[in-house]
């Protein structure tokens, strides 16, 4: 692999981490969604580039799925849901932005330390990809725990899932990548967004997860 190819792959994977960071501090739902579109777009580019570098045509399908499903269909659907639910107001962060960013930096450092240390034998691209992928996964988790809005939790989860796809494409020759990404996309598209948000809304008049917490089975 030429160093240019490596650099581009590196750049794209790094951009994905950057996009994850951008999601951390978005305090409006629409803005969060827009950053997610960027996230998914970068992922599609990254996977497409890997397909070219590894000469693995099936990865083009994965890239296409990322582009069509994650960067177009799901954000558009979410956009409409947000509009119909009338919740395009601010979203509150549970902890402050500064703290969240610090935690995010810590998580990225952690994943670099862990992944780079345990993979000295693997080829450079796979190593970098895994480290970046783990960062994206952990940042996705961070987004999920710092948000209280069901929609932004879903967005956080989808960004986490993008990290998994990055890891799977980085592992050269990994079979089932296509199937896995399809399974994941189907999961997100059909279940969460469609059914649940509306049911929750219907019951609680809100998609703030705090409202859910009040209804735990045992408190009353």
């Amino acid at each position: 692999m030429s160093s240019l190819q490596f650099d581009i792959a590196h750049l794209l994977a790094g951009s994905l981490v950057l996009a994850s960071f951008m999601m951390l501090y978005q305090d409006r739902l629409y803005a969060l969604l827009n950053v997610y579109v960027l996230h998914a777009g970068v992922l599609a580019l990254s996977v497409g580039w890997q397909a070219y570098v590894q000469q693995a045509p099936h990865l083009y399908i994965t890239a296409l799925i990322a582009l069509v499903f994650k960067a177009i269909i799901i954000p558009v659907a979410l956009h409409r849901i947000i509009k119909r639910l009338g919740i395009h107001r601010e979203i509150e962060n549970v902890i402050g932005i500064g703290l969240t960013m610090m935690a995010g930096i810590g998580l990225v450092a952690l994943s670099m330390v862990v992944m780079l240390r345990v993979t000295p034998g693997a080829d450079a691209l796979a190593r970098e990809d895994l480290a970046f992928a783990l960062s994206v996964v952990l940042l996705g988790l961070l987004i999920m725990v710092t948000r209280r809005n069901a929609v932004s939790q879903v967005v956080g989860f989808m960004s986490l899932e993008n990290g998994l796809v990055l890891a799977a494409t980085g592992a050269k020759g990994m079979p089932l990548v296509v199937e896995i990404s399809v399974a994941f996309s189907v999961l997100i598209a059909f279940i969460v967004i469609g059914i649940f948000l509306f049911r929750i809304r219907e019951r609680f008049d809100s998609v703030d997860v705090q409202a859910l917490d009040r209804f735990r089975g045992e408190r009353r």
């Binding site: 345990v118 993979t119 034998g121 693997a122 939790q153 998994l164 990994m174 089932l176 896995i180 279940i191």
Partner: protein, 479 residues
């Protein structure tokens, strides 16, 4: 390609799921559900007679044979229970026929997914199957659409998805670790190939992979501190689903974990997975035992009891060795049978009384004696008193580990005793207190419950030698 028994246990549930999805009329659907589950169970029994050959995608060995038979059997008995359970739910209007069509189809999809996870010879396929099983149960937990049910389903969905995402990351890492040894492509995910070459895998990568897999599948097993979804999902969903969740789905996740543990055991340079599992198991036992004291919802209480028992099982598998593995397997089978029997009883009790609150249920042994005593027997069995099978398996767990790690065993026994106290304290009120709540006669199907309890009792008194040698073979396989 001809379809052998392995294919059939996947094909029967998937075809019936499709059929049930379009079939109107819940009475007929419930019957078809039973027939399909029975057919799957009988097919799984045939695995003992004619052994199909394992291929690249499907696999059969001594380990998953035990799991398959257990899964299909409880799947069948639960479908019998479910038929009478939903009949009542329709009458009181908690569910509508349209929902039931969905429910029955989902039930078979769940059976399909669990069977697929058990027979998959491909770690990617296994992961997909566990994911499908998670999703179907999420949908079923939320089926009542009450506040609590939605909250439980949402929590389960989020935590379950995160868990399963971590498991996928672990699976990818296993592939990365295996790639230098077995080459690129499909082989890198085929379980039988992986095990053959596991000694040459990169140990550091394998270690990290196992941590992810333990966290990921451990969430699905319900190990503390990753258990938060479990009590809600058990309490708010329909009771047949609670029975299947506790009795089967937790086992399936555990099975996935065991497969990877076997892989790590072969690689001498990788960390020993045992201590991690022992620690998580013990934490779960102690934590769940303490939590039992503050429960006010009867289904929730038995959900915590499931966490406790999964803790014991994971502890025993973590200790390893032929005897502890044997004990763990036995305990797993006994727990599945007993816990689902308890949920069968609890489901009917909650229907009779119209509530799940412990404070509002009382004097069951006088108002509905058969259900009351059935539950009592179940509780006696689940806390590990003789002569039931759980006594034997817990005794084996304790005695087999005492020589090796006395202190750990002391903690374990302490947990078991605390749990016993907690369960009896609560159940005593429900059983013998002043009769409370409605006293309508129960329209229940007692057969599944007493079949399970009978089997557990039988195992406690006399284990057939065939079963013993079978379990011993599996225990040896697990190392």
């Amino acid at each position: 390609m001809t379809i052998d028994a392995l294919g059939a246990i996947l094909l029967i549930p998937s075809l019936s799921a499709a059929l049930l999805a379009i079939l109107p009329g819940y009475m007929l659907a419930a019957k078809l559900n039973i027939v399909a589950a029975l057919a799957t169970f009988l097919t799984s029994l045939s695995l003992f007679v004619i052994e199909p050959t394992s291929g690249q995608y499907l696999l059969l060995d001594d380990l998953n044979k035990v799991f398959i038979v257990l899964t299909t059997f409880i799947g069948f008995t639960t479908s019998v229970f479910s038929a009478s359970y939903i009949h009542h739910e329709i009458e009181i209007g908690r569910l509508t026929p349209a929902f039931l069509r969905f429910y029955h189809a989902m039930y078979q999809v769940l059976m399909f997914a669990m069977n697929l996870a058990l027979v998959a010879n491909n770690i990617g396929l296994m992961w997909v199957a566990v994911e499908v099983a998670t999703l179907t149960t999420v949908l079923m937990v939320g089926i009542y659409r009450t506040h609590e049910a939605l909250e439980a389903a949402w929590k389960y969905f989020i935590l379950g998805s995160v868990g399963i995402a971590l498991a996928l990351f672990g699976t990818i890492l296993v592939y990365m670790a295996a790639r230098p040894a077995v080459g690129e492509g499909l082989d890198g995910m085929v379980w039988t190939v992986l095990v053959k070459h596991a000694a040459q895998f990169d140990p550091a990568l394998l270690n990290v992979a196992f941590v992810f897999l333990l966290l990921g599948y451990g969430t699905k097993v319900g190990l503390a501190p990753l258990h938060a979804w479990l009590p809600d999902a058990h309490a708010e969903g329909p009771t047949p689903i609670s029975a299947v969740l506790s009795g089967l789905l937790l086992n399936v996740a555990l099975y996935a974990l065991l497969r990877f543990k076997m892989m790590l055991a072969i690689n001498s340079e990788a960390i020993a997975p045992g201590p991690l599992m022992v620690t998580m198991g013990l934490i779960s036992v102690i934590f769940a035992a303490l939590m039992l004291y503050r429960r006010r919802d009867i289904k929730r209480m038995f959900a915590y009891s499931s966490i406790e028992h999964m803790g014991i099982i994971v502890f025993a598998f973590g200790m390893g060795g032929p005897l502890a593995n044997f004990a763990a397997l036995l305990h797993m089978a006994m727990h599945s049978l007993t816990k689902s029997a308890i949920f069968f009883a609890v489901g009917h009790i909650a229907q009779v009384k119209g509530t799940q609150k412990i404070a509002e249920i009382g004097g069951l042994t006088t108002t509905s004696p058969v259900l009351g005593w059935g539950l009592m027997l179940g509780v006696i069995a689940i806390v590990g008193l003789p002569p039931f099978g759980i006594f034997m398996s817990e005794f084996l767990v304790v005695s087999s580990t005492f020589a090796r790690a006395p202190w750990l065993t002391v903690i374990l026994v302490l947990g078991i005793i605390i749990a016993l106290g907690g369960l009896f304290l609560r159940v005593g009120v429900v059983m013998f207190g002043e009769p409370k709540g409605k006293t309508a006669p129960a329209e229940a199907s007692y057969v599944p419950m007493f079949t399970h309890l009978g089997l557990v009792l039988m195992a406690g008194i006399y284990l057939p030698p065939v079963l013993v040698t079978g379990f011993q073979n599996v225990a040896k396989l697990l190392g």
